[in-house]
Amino acid sequence: MKLRCVVVGVLTAVMAASTAAQKTWTPPRTADGQPDLEGVWSNATITPLERPADLAAKAFFAPSEVAAYEKRVVENANVDRRRSDITADVGLAYNEAWWDRGTHVVKTLRTSLIVDPADGKIPALTAEGERRAAAVAEQRRLHPADGPEDRGLTERCILWPTAGPPMMPSAYNNNYQIFQGPGYVAIMVEMIHDVRIIPLDGRPHLPPNVRQWLGDSRGHWEGNTLVVETTNFTNKTRFRGSSEDLHLTERFTRTDPDTILYEYTVNDPATWTKPWTAQVTMTKSDSRVYEYACHEGNYGMVGMLEGARAEEKNSAKAGAK
């Protein structure tokens, strides 16, 4: 562990000056000359998106602090215990055999994935963003499970909210395989079984009337960094409440043989008062991406709708008494 801390410390110093990192390590090239990002990568990490309140004044851990923090967070998140709140016990009481959230902070040793704003917090919602969030919550309150369309995109196996773009660490299956061919990069996402194909030939985005669940991605290289711009999201693709005008910019930089520094900037003036940026380190994985055929046996959807019908019957009975 000690050795790891030293390694991580050195890495942080290197990554803090990313241009320096690019000078000191040149990534290998694919057959057609692109910087090589190919392989299976994991972005599992315990580092939260937003900086926790108790770390408000601290953007980075000191290398010596990391081990204790990781131990505390992992034990707290994964401890197998009964919860006194029975609803929480039904919903959340699984030990880490069920999860695969990772056990380490990001290699940059940042205390939050968000690097801008400097406080590590998502900026305030605009008035429109608040109205939209409230409308979604109200719809959910009035119609929690009339039919499958009332349930979230996750439960309907349409989109996983962290699968990207942008790609975020999640509860499990945090695995991505990147493929590169002449003129294209493709990213296969284990959760929940999507492949994003990114043209690199400079073609324009789709016309604005064409909307896609994953948006429409276009990539180009800036030195050793793959820059991907995504627009044309649907008005149902809500990344943390974003609007269909979300403009996402992702940057992939391989900083050493086993690391991609992945950064994304969220620009959606209809939702947030200013743009914000997060960074995640992705680690080369020896695992493989397994198929996650989400609809294969989605008994849960039937179970939830039947549960809602049973609750309605019980409420009607209680009302009749």
């Binding site: 131990k71 969030a133 439960e155 959807m301």
Partner: protein
């Protein structure tokens, strides 16, 4: 859970360290906290399917009547990475399930705790760094 789920769905986010993340779907919408069940039975099959695996067991009541129950488990990809495979839970094994019954009253439960008859856990987690599923340090 319902309120957590609502927020999660509205915001579309997993709050990692701040709160436990939700699984593929809202267990609390499917299972009833007011009807905990403890089932001891014989495995008839395990379905290795996404988004969640299911174990089927025959449970005999005190009068000898056998009822088949379905028990919801974790996501197969992660279970496999944790070292659980098709040989881990096979027909004929005796297991004990401590969970909650489906809200619709059917013979389904979530696998809150699943143990073999001798008390060993079927699905073992490993608290601490360096456990199974933990990416090797690079």
């Amino acid at each position: 859970m319902r309120s957590i789920t609502k927020i999660g769905l509205a915001m579309g986010v997993a709050l990692l360290a701040a709160a436990p993340v939700w699984a593929h779907h809202a267990f609390a919408a499917e299972f009833d906290g007011k009807t905990p069940v403890k089932l001891q039975g014989t495995v008839t099959k395990m379905e290795w399917i996404n988004p969640h695996a299911w174990i089927h067991i025959d449970v005999k009541d005190k009068d000898g009547k056998v009822t088949n129950w379905m028990v919801e488990c974790g996501t197969p990809n992660t279970l496999l990475r944790r070292g659980v495979n098709k040989n881990s839970v096979t027909p004929g094994m005796e297991i004990v399930v401590d969970g909650y019954q489906a809200k619709d009253g059917s013979n389904k439960a979530n696998g809150r705790d699943v143990t073999f008859a001798d008390g060993r856990k079927v699905f073992l987690g490993n608290t601490g760094t360096g456990g199974p599923g933990d990416a090797p340090e690079k």
